[in-house]
């Protein structure tokens, strides 16, 4: 079992770990003596921390900078102890350690009491989903092993955890790590304490029950087709995060709403299976070949994940550069990554103080925040309370993971009704005898919608026409769909009032959807229907790629378009860029 040891710096984590290792006989022979001798030689007082500090870096600074692992065992099981740094500078390392842990031991110095990082670590454990916690109140020798002192700290810390909605620790244990009291065995120096010693307490941690009885979630990690040695399997690979699935099961992929049936469960050098459940990194072939991509979540038809472009989350920020509204970041959740922006900062919690909510317009380093986020395109997820593996995310700024969080709830975005319509439509769609794959084979490309957006009179129509002609010339099957043409016919019955706007968009997208289902590359311009927001169209077309080409001389552009143009480019250049875009998205091979 993986256990992380956390707590404010100098409260005694390393001493607890060192002592546990020594008292369980888990140290290599002579190691302890060697370190003691080295200390004598250099005139430093012996510290258990030295035992753990394998790196010169750390010995020089005298603080744990990164999570280090140690191994020991009890009669019951093997443990990996992850010693996480308590210094605030190294919070990201503490998180890396804690994110892998199944349970935690939090150390609080009896004399210093609950400090900033005791609280912050408590908060982070809750956020990372570490639900089993033991608190050691250490250095009891410095407070006369006083019960009232211990009780006060226990009451204060339980109160804090309750406030932040975290689970209550299993056990508070008074210990003196340097003296080994209440660690490996009960000490009779604190007779008032009736609970178990730390080691016994650790053995009471439970293994998380397997999630096989939960709703099925398998985020698609990759679609493999390794053609060498005559292998023609097309394998949808991923890890079953929860639930179970059998050969013959009908499965749905979200957000594309694509449906198929599991034909086989694939593996290498393992007996063939008819069923597989949570925890396995596996792969499937499907009976009806459908085009799905990484980041989609496979589920059964009922108990599906949520699909939305907006959610509310709790998160922690770790980067020196603050998390700010108005900027694009990259969100990574299960196997999906997606452009994201802050919709609203609901509150920022200053973890260094108990009960303090700040109103800020950015999230700074080490802040814990409650935020609402906007995605560029819909993604599939679950609230953390329903399913943790599909409910937690990180945010990447530049090249680095800058923060992470958990999804609390789905928030209503503007296109929910459209998504519901698309889902109902896709689930009940009557298929013809010609599959999308067969059409793709014939046309030499997959269907996709290329939306050219930008102000009136900027040359969208000219580029759309040119692109259509050029692609057609290359033997592909493009079709230019001008918004005006939909207005003239399909929309002829509509009298324009403000509320018809959404209806115009809806009809336009449904027409485009028919053309996509027929296998074409649809190139559209949409000013005629007054479309400012392409995400409405995307919501109605979850099952085909929608690419946005934005023309804007100021280059500011819409948030993360797929292709940004100024309108001053030559026709040839634009055609080439659109062609390259289609290739990079594997619309054309």
């Amino acid at each position: 079992m993986n256990i992380v040891i956390v707590g404010h710096v100098d409260h005694g984590k390393s001493t607890v770990v060192g002592r546990l290792l020594a008292d369980t006989g888990s140290l290599p022979e002579g190691k302890l003596d060697a370190v003691r001798k080295e200390c004598q030689r250099t005139g430093k007082p012996f510290e258990y921390a030295f035992l753990l500090d394998a790196l010169t870096d750390e010995q020089d600074q005298g603080i744990t900078i990164d999570t280090a692992r140690s191994f020991f065992k009890t009669a019951k099981r093997d443990y990996i102890i992850i010693d996480a740094p308590g210094h605030i500078e190294f919070l990201k390392n503490m998180i890396s350690g804690a994110a892998r842990a199944e349970a935690a031991v939090l150390i609080i110095d009896a004399k210093e009491g609950v400090r900033e990082n005791s609280r912050r670590h408590g908060y982070i454990l809750a956020m990372l989903g570490v639900k089993q916690v033991i608190v050691c109140v250490n250095k009891m020798d410095l407070v006369d092993r006083s019960q009232s002192h211990f009780d006060k700290i226990e009451a204060e810390f339980r109160e804090f955890l309750k406030e932040i909605g975290s689970v209550s620790p299993m056990q508070f244990i008074p210990v003196s790590a340097v003296n080994g009291e209440n660690l490996a065995g009960k000490s009779d120096t604190m007779k008032w304490y009736k609970g178990p010693a730390l080691l016994v307490s650790l053995d009471q941690f439970k293994k998380a029950p397997p999630k096989s009885d939960w709703p099925l979630r398998m985020p698609v990690q990759a679609v493999y087709k390794f053609t060498n040695h005559g292998d023609d399997r097309r394998i949808i690979a991923g890890r079953v995060e929860s639930g179970r699935v059998k050969v013959g099961d009908k499965v749905v992929f979200h957000p594309s709403n694509k449906i198929s049936t599991v034909k086989s469960i694939e593996s290498f050098n393992a007996p063939a299976r008819k069923e597989i459940d949570a925890g396995w990194s596996t792969g499937f072939t499907l009976a009806e070949e459908i085009y799905v991509t990484r980041g989609e979540v496979m589920s059964h038809e009922s108990l599906a994940p949520l699909v939305s472009m907006r959610f509310r989350a709790n998160m922690i920020w770790l980067s020196k550069k603050p998390f700010k509204p108005g900027r694009d970041y990259k969100l990574k959740i299960h196997t999906q990554s997606q452009s994201v922006r802050i919709h609203k900062i609901n509150k920022v919690i200053d973890a260094s103080e108990a009960h303090s909510a700040l109103s800020k317009n950015q999230v700074d380093r080490h802040d814990v925040a409650d935020v609402t986020l906007d995605l560029r395109q819909p993604i599939a997820f679950d609230p953390i309370s329903e399913n943790e593996s599909t409910g937690r995310f990180v945010i990447v700024d530049g090249y680095d993971i800058a923060g992470g969080g958990i999804i609390i709830s789905n928030e209503k975005d503007d296109h929910e009704d459209f998504r519901a319509e698309a889902k109902l439509r896709d689930f009940n769609w009557i298929r013809g005898g010609v599959s999308l794959e067969a059409r793709a084979e014939r046309f030499g490309h997959r269907p996709s919608l290329v939306m050219i957006v930008g102000k009136q009179g900027i040359g969208k129509h000219q580029f759309a026409r040119a692109a259509e002609k050029a692609l057609f010339g290359k033997g592909l099957s493009p079709y230019m769909l001008d918004g005006t043409n939909v207005l003239l016919g399909v929309d002829a019955d509509l009298v324009w009032v403000e509320s018809t706007q959404a209806e115009l968009v809806r009809r336009f997208a449904e027409v485009a959807h028919l053309l996509l289902d027929a296998g074409h590359i649809v190139i559209s311009t949409t000013n005629a229907i007054g479309l400012g927001d392409f995400s409405a169209v995307q919501s109605l077309i979850p099952d085909f790629p929608v690419l946005v080409v934005d023309i804007d001389p100021s280059k500011k552009g819409v948030s993360s378009s797929d292709l940004q143009l100024t309108g001053k480019e030559s026709e040839e250049a634009v055609i080439q860029k659109i062609y390259d875009l289609l290739r990079s998205r594997q619309i054309i091979d």
Binding site: P28, A68, Q221, N228, H229, D231, I401
Partner: protein
């Protein structure tokens, strides 16, 4: 789920994440037990295929069985097998074995550590970044030929385990190395759950460690379960010694052990007989801070 299954699932997940995110991805294969398990896991991850090149750094001092075994497996599994070497140092004869008989204090004398630095670390750095020639196994002829591919690799999969020695216990699954191939232990990115560092600045690369959570015992139990072929050097051939870890012949001492097969080794590890002997203790170059330094500078 059993522990070996759990470890396998996580390693497979990591391998697939690397394959997805790094267009220029390779796997280091020392032909030792760990990286051979890694190779096996790649076949698990990719359903029998190994869709990425394997890199072997040949110091020319490897025990000959290792090379034979390497090429046999490469042919059997149809691997893209790439070999790198510090041909300059070898030609100049500036290696530990060739200078060890020189008198103490002779400036031409090369220490074990410096030898490792040149034959392993430098060779690896330059093979990865493509500045030194690479040799590639022609799967038809079974011969090595100059590799036409000279592009640098940006993702390097390595079989390091956290239990091997102190500094490795601080690694991440995805661990960035800077332009000079240096590892900044203090400035490692956070690793939340299964979200790894998969974005990297030009000129830098990422080391990927799918075996981080495995122990030596897990490795042998897995070799047994999966029947993975291993080099005979790991087993006692009658002399009462065997290698516990493989390296260059001049710097690698066998350990006293009568373990003749995988079962014996597992029993030996479980008995605790080797408990107090560090796994790499047969490696004469490690010394006090030696390994840490090699490691920071890019040798693993």
């Amino acid at each position: 789920m059993e522990i070996l299954d759990q470890l396998e699932q996580q390693s497979v997940y990591i391998l697939r994440e690397s394959f997805r995110h790094f267009e220029r991805l390779c796997m280091l294969w020392s032909v030792g037990k760990d990286s051979t398990v890694l190779l096996w896991l790649a076949r698990k991850a990719f359903f029998g295929h190994v869709p990425l090149p394997l890199i072997h750094i040949d110091t020319s001092y490897k025990i000959p069985e290792m090379i034979t075994y390497r090429d046999r497996l490469a042919m059997d599994y149809q691997l893209t097998m790439v070999v790198g070497q510090n041909t300059k140092a070898l030609a100049a004869g500036t290696t530990f074995p060739l200078t060890q008989d020189l008198p103490e204090g002779d400036p031409k004398k090369i220490s074990r550590l410096d030898c490792c630095g040149m034959l392993k670390r430098e060779a690896l750095t330059h093979t990865l970044n493509g500045t030194w020639p690479r040799q590639k196994l022609n799967l038809k002829s079974g011969k090595y030929e100059p590799d036409a591919d000279t592009e640098p690799y940006h993702g390097v999969i390595v079989g390091a385990r956290a239990d091997e020695e102190g500094s490795r216990s601080k690694e991440r699954y995805f661990s960035p190395r800077d332009k000079n191939n240096l590892w900044d232990v203090g400035e490692q990115p956070p690793e939340f759950w299964n979200q790894f560092k998969t974005d990297f600045a030009p000129g830098t690369h990422v080391r990927i460690h799918p075996l981080l959570d495995w122990t030596e015992l897990h490795i042998w139990e897995y070799i047994k379960r999966e029947k993975i072929p291993t080099v005979s050097l790991y087993y006692d051939q009658g002399a009462g010694t065997r290698y516990r870890s493989l390296g260059c012949a001049p710097c690698q001492a066998p350990i006293q052990s009568k373990a003749k097969n995988v079962d014996d080794i597992i029993a030996e590890l479980k008995s605790g007989k080797l408990k107090n002997i560090a796994e790499r203790s047969g490696r004469l170059q490690d010394g006090k801070h030696g390994l840490e330094e090699l490691r920071r500078e890019g040798y693993m």
